[in-house]
Symmetry: C2
Subunit: 157 residues, 2 copies
DNA sequence: GAGATAGTCAATGGTTCTTGACCAATAAAG
DNA sequence: CTTTATTGGTCAAGAACCATTGACTATCTC
């Protein structure tokens, strides 16, 4: 059974890769998180696009659509339906730009902030379930290492 | 500036969450990996769907389409175009099922196995770049913890 | 004024997935 | 050994989502 051995070989290689294991973990966690958020009322249907956009609304003065598009790496036309949905829900407000009459500013509202908080809280709840099985010490250690890893990955491009 | 404080608060909450940091890391790593795989010739266009399907072809005897669909949580119709593409490329072979004349078995070929190996190798290369910045000891530790985390997450549902 | 920039509108394309109708083979039951 | 229900798979049509290009308006900058 040479073929079976080759398969086992690849699986060993996968298990040996930090990245492979990391990607799997990230997907599973993401799935759990999305399910937890959408299982509750209040947010009609949280989709990946929303979660991807929200972090770029850090500026309390608002962010221009073009800037959002550039941050996300897509065209401004692609961003429009997303912010339209967010605005309809009330997570963002679209204001005219005081400095430029052409431009508009997408501003995170209190409700949008609450949505971010809610989503993160759900993740923290899963954290706790994980910690109960993984151990408090290990979880803390993992969190520390992961935080450093995030910095490394950001710098890596 | 109460609003800015509230935002900082959420960001602190996010940074404190293992899951949040993990998801970000996973996305970044995945992006790097996909880019690395597609930058080389040999595999015309590796998409997420392919990467998602391949792991379920572990059985050397092949797997039924219905079974694949159930594993992926979609309909069998959704699976069909994916395996058609994989078959066209040569990563899988579609054989009649010896036990059931209705059924077909999707079998991973040598080429498909090589593709998995190639993808994982690319991840391992990124691993090394990460390890150079994170430190060998830390990387090893992180890998160990992450492997345990994966088991925990799988069991969590 | 000339040219760049912010944003919108319209049309369109690709990917993924769905429902519904169908065929062929199997399994269960009389 | 038929009848009936179930199962594996395909075909066809289409919906949802995400993104695109192209054309246009309004404004800003020089």
């Amino acid at each position: 059974m040479k073929k079976k051995d080759a398969l086992e070989d690849v699986k060993r290689l996968q298990a040996s890769s930090l990245g492979y294991v990391l990607i799997r973990c990230g997907q599973l966690f993401n799935e759990l998180g999305m399910r937890a958020v959408n299982s509750e009322a209040g947010w009609p249907m949280m989709r990946e696009v929303h979660a991807r956009l929200l972090p770029y609304l850090e500026n309390p003065e608002g962010v221009r659509i073009t800037e959002l598009a550039r941050s996300l790496g897509v065209t401004k036309q692609a961003v429009q339906p997303v912010i339209a949905e967010l605005a309809e829900f009330g997570a963002v407000r679209i204001e005219p730009d005081p400095d430029d009459a052409r431009a508009r500013r997408v501003v995170l509202t209190e409700k949008g902030l609450a949505a971010m908080r809610h989503g993160t809280t759900k993740l923290v709840e899963i954290d706790r379930r994980v910690a109960r099985r993984l151990g408090a010490e290990e979880t803390r250690e993992l969190h520390g290492l992961m935080t450093r890893l995030l910095e490394v990955l950001k710098a890596l491009d």
